[in-house]
């Protein structure tokens, strides 16, 4: 009996335990999912948390599913690109219908307003950028040169015989290069007469680049027109080595990775001997150009948010040629050799949840020897910089950065002719800046900054206010503006004679409209730039040392258009940039306001890229067209009134990735000026007229009509 009772009890127990299963009735839950801008979301996952019960919304955003659950539950609604939503439901015996669920876009950079007047950014990390560093490395016709690649972007003028950046009617010295926020004093290799130079650093060392054609932050000083800010890579991903054989030399790299530290070393030895034999040179080389260099990158992660980065680069380049000094009707034996060492170390850390510190030290040592026949010009430049800045990120909508930097500069030139001349000066520059950015919602942003600089050598103190703002005009478009004052010390060649000069000055006004949706970017920017206090010689055509004033002035205005469409995979990717510029200045030896030699009114560049997947081959082509440039013709009574014919270039690049002996190998071929356009950069005139009273001329042309470089790089 007792046993029976027990069995009964357990039976009841079992029954009780199973009752919920038997009494479950199915109820329906239905509703609709849409985005904040009232578009239906299809494909969203709607389910009761902790159960299998749920469904997927249809093309109209509608959903309906049944469940046997009862009581309080959380209904989860999730979809890619939107913030997951959860709502509390009390499920009883009746159906739940008409649920209206709105999903909010995940705030992404693309949607948020960014102040971008004047600046082009290339980054691997940010979504909002227009270019990737690899775009820069692989653009045909620029030979892997950072400055060459920026030359395909709107705002820059093609100046073939220089190889440096000339931005919006500005001289090349008006563009300054920064690396991780530190000034790079000699970013280009030394220059030989009438031949283009190039940047010292490979674009592959950087994972972010900003090219600003005006209106930049108060953090940057000493640039009248433009800045290039390069961000070095963080920790190397792993141990690896590579070796490259190029028709112009050898390159190699090795990197080592520890847990929080990495070290990378690269080396290169370039010799243009072979290449100069293949591609007929217009230059009479006595010693072909040689470059030897090495770069060291040390990175150490000090904490989750802190990083110490050191960058060191040492290089040497040299060449010797017989230079046709047409102006003086003679040939000169010109040797140029340059040693450069650049080191910087930066330390960035989040001090607490409100403050971030960025600090750095940089040293540059540059020695250049120019031997022109018996003349020997030996120039040594020493530069060191200390910089520190603090950024407050504690407030939700207001970011403030304040900082100071100190720059020491020492210039020493020894001219050995019949007599010896020594020119030297040194300068201590103290600067400080403060800049705040205010965001009003995600649609409006304002930035105001102030920079001040004091130079001991010039003994002048200046203030430079800068403001900028941006506003969203639609889901995918925004307008942005910038206004500011920019100052720069006169070039060494004037300072070495005249300590009484003051800083040159420019003011920028920029207005930008940008539309970026999916794969397409359209951008148009109008600007006006005024120059004051430019160096001007007291007398026309007089180069007499020390005869300088700050009375020069000028203007530059124009607009830039940029269009890029990165189509669906396998199709093309291209960008078109067009710039129109109107600028005149009265500076240096100019007798009146005129367009300087590097000016070109129209610059068009088209870059096209396509990946052919079946053959693993990447093809890049670029075309640039530049309208005629002014040159001085002494036979023409009008000053700087003559124009060269337009400049044309079509270049292609082919990159192929394959596995050779199981090693990843890259083959890269670039051919410049494929069609062999005869380009003329300008004309050099004889200093004295011939018998019939005419000044004879000689065109300044590229060193070779075409140029091709082949590279094979193996990952070891």
């Amino acid at each position: 009996m007792l046993e029976f009772c027990f069995v009964m009890k357990t039976t009841i127990l079992i029954l009780i335990l199973f009752i919920p299963i038997f009494t479950r009735g199915q109820i329906q839950i239905s509703g609709n999912v849409s985005s904040t801008n009232e578009e239906p979301i299809s494909g969203a996952n709607i389910f009761l948390q902790g159960t299998y019960d749920g469904c997927t919304s249809d093309s109209l955003g509608n959903f309906l599913f049944t469940t046997s659950e009862k009581g309080n539950h959380t209904l989860i609604i999730s979809f890619i690109g939107y913030k997951t939503n959860g709502i509390q439901l009390e499920i009883s015996n009746s159906d739940i219908s008409g649920l209206t669920i709105v999903l909010e876009d995940e705030a992404n950079e693309l949607e948020e307003v960014t102040i971008n007047a004047g600046s082009f950014e290339a980054s691997d990390k940010k979504k909002s950028v227009i270019l990737k560093p690899i775009d820069i490395a692989l653009t045909a016709g620029v030979g892997g040169d950072i400055y060459g690649a920026f030359g395909t972007l709107p705002g820059s003028h093609v100046v073939g015989e220089e190889g440096r950046l000339f931005v919006r009617g500005g001289e090349s010295y008006e563009t300054k290069t920064y690396m991780d926020g530190m000034l790079v004093h000699s970013p280009y290799y030394s220059k030989t007469p009438d031949l283009p130079t190039r940047g010292r650093y490979s674009p592959l060392l950087f994972n972010g680049m900003v090219f600003s054609t005006g209106g930049y932050s108060a953090e940057y000083g000493q640039a009248l027109s433009s800045i290039v800010d390069l961000k070095t890579v963080a920790l190397e991903p792993k141990d690896q080595s590579s070796i490259s054989v190029i028709t112009v030399g050898l390159q190699g790299s090795h990197s080592k990775r520890w847990k929080n530290t990495s070290l990378a070393i690269t080396g290169e030895l370039l010799h243009l001997g072979l290449s100069n034999k293949i591609f007929k040179q217009n230059i009479d080389w006595i010693n072909d150009p040689v470059t030897a260099g090495t770069t060291l990158l040390f990175r150490h992660k000090t904490s989750e948010t802190g990083m110490v980065k050191s960058f060191g680069n040492f290089n040497y380049n040299s060449s010797r040629m017989l230079y046709d000094d047409f102006a003086n009707s003679t040939f000169r034996d010109v040797t140029v050799s340059n040693y450069n060492a650049y080191l910087n170390t930066t330390y960035n850390e989040l001090i607490n949840k409100n403050w971030m510190i960025c600090s750095g030290i940089a040293v540059n040592l540059d020695n250049e020897k120019n031997l022109i026949d018996a003349q020997n010009i030996n120039t040594t430049k020493k530069n060191s910089q200390l910089k520190i800045s603090f950024t407050n990120i504690g407030l939700k909508n207001l970011t403030t950065k304040i900082g100071a930097d100190y720059n020491y500069y020492d210039y020493n030139q020894n001219l050995i002719m019949e007599d010896d001349f020594l020119f030297n000066f040194s300068n201590n520059q103290f600067s400080a800046f403060v800049e705040s950015e205010l965001k009003v919602g995600s649609k409006l942003a304002f930035k105001a900054g102030l920079r001040t600089e004091y130079n001991t050598f010039l003994n002048d103190l200046n203030l430079m206010p800068r403001i900028s703002a941006a506003a969203k005009t639609g889901k995918s478009s925004q307008i942005s503006m910038a206004f500011g004052t920019f100052r720069q010390n006169p070039e060494d060649d004037y300072l070495k004679f005249s300590p009484t000069l003051s800083q040159e000055k420019s003011t920028h006004t920029i207005l930008t409209y940008q539309y970026k949706k999916d794969t397409r970017t359209f951008r148009i920017e109008a600007y006006n730039k005024n120059y004051n206090e430019l160096i001007k010689f007291k007398e026309e055509f007089s180069f007499e040392p020390g005869n300088y004033t700050n009375n020069g002035s000028g203007y530059s205005r124009g607009f830039d258009i940029f269009w890029r469409n990165q189509k669906k995979f396998g199709k093309s990717d291209y960008w078109i940039s067009y710039s129109w510029n109107d600028s005149k200045r009265n500076y240096r030896d100019f007798k009146e306001k005129a367009t300087p030699y590097y000016f070109s009114a129209h610059n068009l560049s088209v870059v096209y890229k396509k990946f052919f997947f079946p053959i693993n081959c990447f093809v890049s082509a670029s075309y640039s067209l530049t309208s005629g440039r002014p040159y001085y013709n002494p036979n023409n009574p009008d000053f700087m009134a003559d124009r060269t014919k337009p400049y044309n270039d079509f270049s292609i690049g082919l990159t192929h990735i394959l596995y050779l002996l199981k090693k990843q190998t890259v083959l890269h071929l670039v051919v410049n000026n494929v069609f062999g356009f005869n380009n003329v950069f300008g004309y050099t005139y004889s200093n004295s007229p011939n018998d019939s009273g005419i000044y004879e001329s000689k065109p300044v042309i590229p060193p070779s009509k075409r140029m091709a470089v082949f590279l094979i790089s193996i990952q070891l």
């Binding site: 997927t56 995979f569 997947f613 990447f618 990735i657 050779l660």
Partner: protein, 210 residues
């Protein structure tokens, strides 16, 4: 008392058996749905079901595997390159979670190898080198952990097929790998009816074209 304990244990076991049966049933249905999916909507719906199951079965890697697989297929079908990365990020989240549950599952490495080529399509030049290397590594890991997993060979065959002939790729080089994969597919016995068992038809299709 003893009997009570026995009964209680039975009940508990029965209960867990019931939930296991529910899991198997839900998974079977979902796998069926995935196998018959042909449009983005179908794959999204399948992905959502697997995601729901994975939310409840926190200790099992298989729902995560299928959720990731569905998203990877969606990413390949997506025509707008700007939308691919968010989809692949989602797939990778499922994969990462699955890897955190089991370290030595060959199928997960094979699926990882299947994800990388989709990443490459977003930016072939910028990502090609990095991801081809990662993909090869994942295939090697998948083979090392289970030399009989046919999907590793199938993926290797496809990669080889896409490489040019003069550098060890192409149809001629790929054919024996497809054949090996076919052999492995023929021999392959899935652990259960809901274990990964895809690729045989695709492999056969590719092979028949050569």
């Amino acid at each position: 008392m003893k009997t009570l304990i026995t009964i209680l244990i039975t009940i508990i076991c029965f209960g867990s058996l019931a939930s296991d049966a529910k899991y198997k049933e839900a998974m079977s249905k979902a796998v069926e749905k995935l196998n018959h999916a042909s449009s983005v909507d179908d794959f999204m719906a399948a992905a959502n079901i697997f995601e729901r199951i994975s939310q409840t079965e926190q200790e099992l890697w298989l729902p995560l595997y299928y959720a990731a697989q569905s998203y990877i297929v969606v990413s390949f079908m997506e025509q707008d390159i700007s939308k691919k990365d968010p989809i692949l990020d989602k797939a990778q989240q499922f994969l990462d979670k699955a890897f955190s549950l089991t370290k030595n599952e060959s199928e997960l490495y094979a699926l990882q190898a299947f994800l990388y080529p989709s990443r490459i399509t977003v930016d072939p030049m910028g990502r090609g080198m990095e991801y081809i290397e990662k993909m090869n590594q994942a295939i090697e890991d998948a083979i090392r952990l289970n030399p009989d997993n046919p999907r590793s060979y199938y993926l290797r065959a496809v990669t080889t097929l896409n490489m040019p002939e003069e550098f060890g790729g192409g149809a001629v080089a790929a054919k024996p790998i497809f054949e090996l994969a076919q052999k492995k597919f023929d021999e392959f016995q899935p652990e259960s009816s809901i274990s990964p068992n895809w690729g045989k038809e695709q492999n056969y299709e590719e092979l028949s074209k050569l």
